[in-house]
């Protein structure tokens, strides 16, 4: 076990979902205020901030509402790993010895329906979007279709993951979709991108999260229940991996950025998959959660079918996965999504997760985000 360098001492969230008349930025501001209150600090005590938002404005402009204290404020935009990148940067700013107390902020507010892809900004030609291939949903359909073919995963498992997500979401007051759905309802909903139906997909949404980080040796100034950040890693894709929005894939195969980020995080933390008590895994759609269980090292490819049927990933199971309902029940405001996972893990490790509390005093927790253009972020927390 490595020495603790950085602790999370305050957490704040603006509920996810759809909030008419509330800007994404204002959700970020609300999250910051609630994180400060949680840590018992004033905004003026915060020495630095990393803020992430993909489509709700430049985060550093929020100081005009929070207070013009002159702090170092850096905006982070890094696709679906935006929140994770803000946290990674904040973690390293403290670990380096440069600062004692800082904040990672993520918020967003997206249009309804599937993400509208800017092909130019993604380094793709116009014909790609014009021809109907610039859709992230297609990638997820194609990746799980191939995976089911190779590893014997069935439609039942896809439906089971969604059923679990909405059941967990129903116990989360900050979640967007709080109505439990049966496996049959999930299967019978509209087929969006074969084999994935409407209720197997998360939707772009709205929300904000803020996390206050401190030097580990000062954590008890702010909280009786510090949670230590054992690892924070971001990795991009390597040659041969199969990623979202790729006009071609190489013939040779590489396992992808999730496998790389996961291995690096476990090494940094001096722990392994068997040491984790809880995991929040990117579930853009239910197949992603299944594939990410294996890519993050929690099982072998194909084992998920049995694990899901046995309830291993339920809140009461051997390895609870997406205890707050994940992206499926919370939606995906890109800037906030990765930080939501960490927020949930801090709640769980503090024992403050209420109706959805993982039993038996969990001590370690794992988060994983994945997104365009082939980027993964992993954190490991312990108390």
């Amino acid at each position: 076990m490595t020495t603790d360098d950085v602790a999370i001492v305050g957490i704040g969230m603006h509920p996810f979902g759809r909030h008419e008349g509330v800007s994404g930025m204002d959700m970020g501001v609300a999250a910051v205020r609630s994180a400060c209150a949680d840590a018992g600090v004033q905004w003026e005590d915060i020495q630095f901030a990393f803020g992430g938002s993909a489509s709700a404005g430049a985060p550093d402009t929020m100081v005009s509402k929070l207070g013009l204290t002159g702090l170092q404020f850096i905006n982070v935009v890094n696709g679906c790993a935006t929140g994770g990148s803000a946290l990674f940067s904040a973690y390293n700013s403290i670990k380096s010895g440069m600062f004692d107390l800082g904040i990672a902020i993520g918020f967003d507010k997206h249009d309804r329906g599937a993400f509208r892809v800017n092909t130019k900004a993604s380094g793709l030609s116009d014909w790609y979007g014009e021809s109907g291939m610039a859709l992230t949903t297609q990638f997820f359909g194609m990746k799980i279709n191939r995976y089911m073919h190779e590893h014997g995963i069935t439609e039942d498992s896809l439906a089971r993951v969604s059923e679990k997500a909405f059941r967990n979401g129903s116990k989360n007051e900050n979640a967007w979709r709080r109505r439990p759905l049966s496996m049959e309802e999930v299967k019978q909903s509209a087929m969006l991108s074969y084999p994935l139906t409407q209720y197997m997909f998360c939707s772009p949404g709205e929300g904000g999260v803020a996390l206050i980080l401190a030097r580990a040796d000062q954590a008890h100034k702010y909280t009786d229940t510090p949670v230590f950040l054992k690892a924070a890693v971001v990795r991009s894709r390597r040659f041969g991996s199969f990623e979202v929005m790729a006009p071609h894939i190489a013939l040779e195969h590489n396992a992808g950025p999730t496998v790389d980020a996961s291995a690096a995080a476990f090494e940094m933390a001096g722990m392994g998959p068997d040491d984790m008590d809880i995991a929040q895994l990117q579930d853009t759609e239910s197949g992603a959660e299944i594939m990410h269980m294996a890519e993050n090292g929690f099982c072998e490819h194909g084992e998920q079918e049995h694990m899901l049927a046995m309830g291993d990933t339920e809140i009461t199971g051997r390895l609870p996965v997406n205890t707050d309902g994940g992206c499926l029940a919370n939606g995906e405001p890109i800037g906030a999504s990765g930080l939501r996972q960490v927020y949930e893990n801090v709640l769980q490790l503090r024992g403050d997760a209420g109706e959805r509390q993982v039993p038996n005093d969990p001590k370690t927790a794992y988060t994983h985000v994945y997104g365009a253009p082939g980027i993964s972020g992993v954190t490991i927390l312990a108390k």
Partner: protein, 147 residues
């Protein structure tokens, strides 16, 4: 390919596939250092970081590596085809593995899951995407099952 000989056809973009051609081929790049094949054409090689590539015509046939069916109208823009929810027709999308070259992402001429199987033999064709303001039929590429 032509549905109406009076209608002029144009490619969705220059340089994506050979045009005009009775036997269309996709245009890719080959790294002159390591031989890595890419689609569409690009300068620079993601495999060896080499800076020199040459344009090549890719193979016309391959096998279906994976697939899905686009079941709802894509947002327009960027989509240029029919995105009207009332008349939208689902279309297949997949990756076709061109032996010894690369896997290319492509529309499929088939949209019925019952008729699509991983590993099936496919060949390149061109399909109409939309009619432009000049009344020309804009064509894009797709792969069709070989019977």
């Amino acid at each position: 390919m032509a549905t109406d000989s009076a209608t002029k056809q144009v490619p969705v973009s220059e340089g994506v596939f050979t045009w005009p051609s009775d036997e269309p081929r996709l245009l890719g790049s080959k790294c002159t250092d390591c031989g890595n094949v890419m689609f569409p054409t690009q300068s620079g090689c993601p495999k060896c970081s080499g800076q020199s590539t040459e344009t090549i015509e890719l193979g016309r046939t391959g096998t279906l590596w994976t697939w899905t069916v686009q079941g709802y109208p894509p947002k327009s823009p960027p989509y240029a085809g029919n995105a009207d929810p009332k008349t939208f027709e689902a279309f297949g999308v997949g990756y076709v593995e061109l032996p010894g070259e690369v896997k290319v992402e492509t529309r499929l001429t088939v949209n019925d899951p019952e008729q699509l199987n991983i590993g099936m033999e496919m060949e390149l064709t061109l399909v109409p995407l939309y009619t432009n303001d000049d009344g020309e039929e804009v064509m894009t590429f797709a792969f069709a099952p070989i019977n």
